[in-house]
Symmetry: C2
Subunit: 384 residues, 2 copies
């Protein structure tokens, strides 16, 4: 397992905030490269996450780019290669807003790491946030460049260099052409009505709603239209789902599943895991999210470990590309209780039960049933 | 639970065959309406199932239609409504072949029925078969009719009337426009190179690969382009995924999830469940299948109840719209053993563990881990 440790070692997990404009509520997993998870207590209050509370997953140092010098090239299987400044991009293409949830492939890794060690940041369910993104549609840019009909993938590149990438290389990713030509995919320069901050990819990043966050490449400076997926380390080696017992760095490119769409998942955001609450009526709230264009059909909540289920009330998601907030009021008797949640998506996929059966060498896609433990105490003036 | 029994009572499950041209191997669940499941031993031998071995799920008597008198109407949100004979359909549109697996939403219901009673046929994993279908693309027919841009759904109707439908009505279904305009969806008149047999929908049926079999409407005579899903009993009432405790017939239309795409699933086809086999090297084979355009990424096999997994070898599926046959050779020591299989699809969805957690009032979408029990015996001339 030693070879797995080539990914950067997680730093001290602390609430520090203020670096890169983040609030004091974010949970910092690593200061350089900067990696921070949103506070569950803050997420639950906001259908759209404020920029200062939005999670950050970086692989290398933040490139602080001068927007006046930034250029985007569009090349590969196109009839008219483009090279554009930020002004060109903003002047030439219609502006669109998409409210989209991003989620790190390692979201909820901490649950898998309890089964068996996994290197990498021990993300809880807060590597997930929602923002309003403003930009040009990638499909409009591809049309302007004359993307050829035989193209199958669109690759992204950016100038950040991660220490973990072998051989040393810029960050990259790719998405299938069918996704790249969806109206929801943006080259975004705005986040929550303001210019994109440096830590989130200024001046321009890709936004690929419904896919793992790693495909929403920050600081993007190149779009390539291709016959094949990107050969970049972060597409062909990292971010693969592999069976236990396989070394993720020596398994040949093409082995395993290069991650694209997210899987159906949910989290209990409040109360906090481990909280002591008064017995009686208790509000439980969370989010549910699925991959690509799949919405949430149902969220089940259990107080008996999944023997029986209650139906949570679903809020309207802030957009078809965003999470579904949910809520339920439970009547808790005094004592210890485990609360379990699971979501079903509109393709009828449901979260599987146990993290033990989902463990994988890189700790991706933990979508096992969510569980918190509460202690309900007698309320003042009441007796059992 | 009595109200659930409005669905037709299952008849005697027997191997009879020869009715409707079926082989002696099919397992007949009901003779009228005719419902029969493919033999697992036969399925495993054929990447594409022969017509005589293909499963049949009918809701009412087979309408034996005169192909010379058959007409298809295309109406609703179209600029040019059509009415076509079979000759019109065959002469006006390009002919296409698609190898596609169909699967009944009730496939593997027998496993759920062991958890808690469910009315309806106790299908095993043999309500799944693959054929080569020949016909016109639905998208070409929709284009000829001038389907309007604001259309959201395409509904199908057929003359068969099921006793269970309330109020009495013809069979119907609908699919989203994005699916209906996919190249894989056919109005098919051919099956495995021969004219479609009556029991499979002659003269023409819809083929909707990757969706539950009920959306591949047989004996189709009407295609309607609509803003909303079909209000037909089989779209709005039956074939919904509902939580336990809900009466599926009184729950209002719109409640629950009207089933469309299949979920990721697999079956062990050989050896037979309960077989006695010689200890030592044992070949285990099966199929895996997911919904819509999702392929199979991986099949895991366990001999210790899921504590550890081996990787099955995947055959190339006969088409992107067909199942993935898989195989593995296990070394079995003498004694009783449970063999477990689970599939992952290309969206990283995996089969959930337990049927107990998937039980639903109509018994749909059992995609829990597949399990068989074997007894491995000492081989002649060997001692322990």
């Amino acid at each position: 397992m030693d070879k797995y440790l080539r990914e950067e070692e997680p730093g001290v997990t602390e609430r520090s905030g203020t670096a890169w404009g983040k609030s004091h509520d974010v949970i910092v997993h690593q200061s350089e490269p900067f990696n921070a998870e949103s506070s569950l207590a803050v997420l639950v209050q906001q259908p759209v996450t404020s920029t200062e509370d939005f999670y950050v997953r970086n692989h290398g140092p933040v490139p602080e780019l001068d927007p006046r010098l930034w250029r985007l090239s569009v090349d590969g299987m196109v009839d008219r290669p483009l090279e554009m400044s930020l002004e060109d991009l903003q002047n030439r293409f219609e502006h669109h807003e998409v409210v989209a949830t991003l989620q790190c492939a390692g979201n909820r890794r901490s649950g898998l790491a309890k089964v068996h060690d996994i290197p990498g940041h021990p993300w809880g369910p807060g590597a997930t946030s929602t923002a309003t993104w403003t930009g040009a549609r990638l499909t409009d840019v591809l049309a302007a460049a004359g993307a050829q009909n035989s193209a199958q993938h669109v690759a992204f590149e950016a100038p950040d260099v991660a220490p973990e990438a072998t051989p040393p290389q810029r960050f990259g990713a790719s998405i299938p052409i069918a996704k790249a030509t969806g109206d929801e995919v943006l080259l975004a320069w705005g986040m929550n009505g303001r210019p994109l901050p440096a830590v989130h990819g200024a001046p321009v990043r890709a936004i690929v709603p419904g896919f793992i966050g790693a495909r929403s490449v920050k600081w993007i400076d190149r779009v390539s239209v291709q016959a094949d997926p990107s050969q970049n380390f972060f597409q062909s080696i990292a971010y693969r789902l592999l069976p236990p017992g396989i070394d993720p760095y020596s398994a040949p490119p093409g082995d395993g599943l290069a991650l694209g769409p997210l899987t159906v998942n949910s989290a209990i955001l409040a109360p906090d895991d481990g909280a002591v609450v008064p017995a009686g009526r208790t509000a439980v709230t969370g989010y549910a999210l699925s991959g690509d264009d799949r919405g949430i059909a149902r969220v089940d909540v259990s107080v008996d470990g999944g023997q029986s289920w209650l139906q949570a009330e679903l809020d309207e998601p802030p957009s078809p590309w965003a999470w579904t907030p949910w809520r339920i009021t439970l009547e808790l008797p005094p004592g210890d209780v485990e609360i379990t949640a699971r979501a079903w998506d509109t393709s009828a996929a449901v979260q599987p039960e146990h993290e033990a059966h989902l463990w994988n060498p890189k700790g991706y896609f933990n979508n096992a049933w969510s569980r918190i433990h509460l202690t309900a105490t007698e309320r003042q003036g009441m007796s059992a």
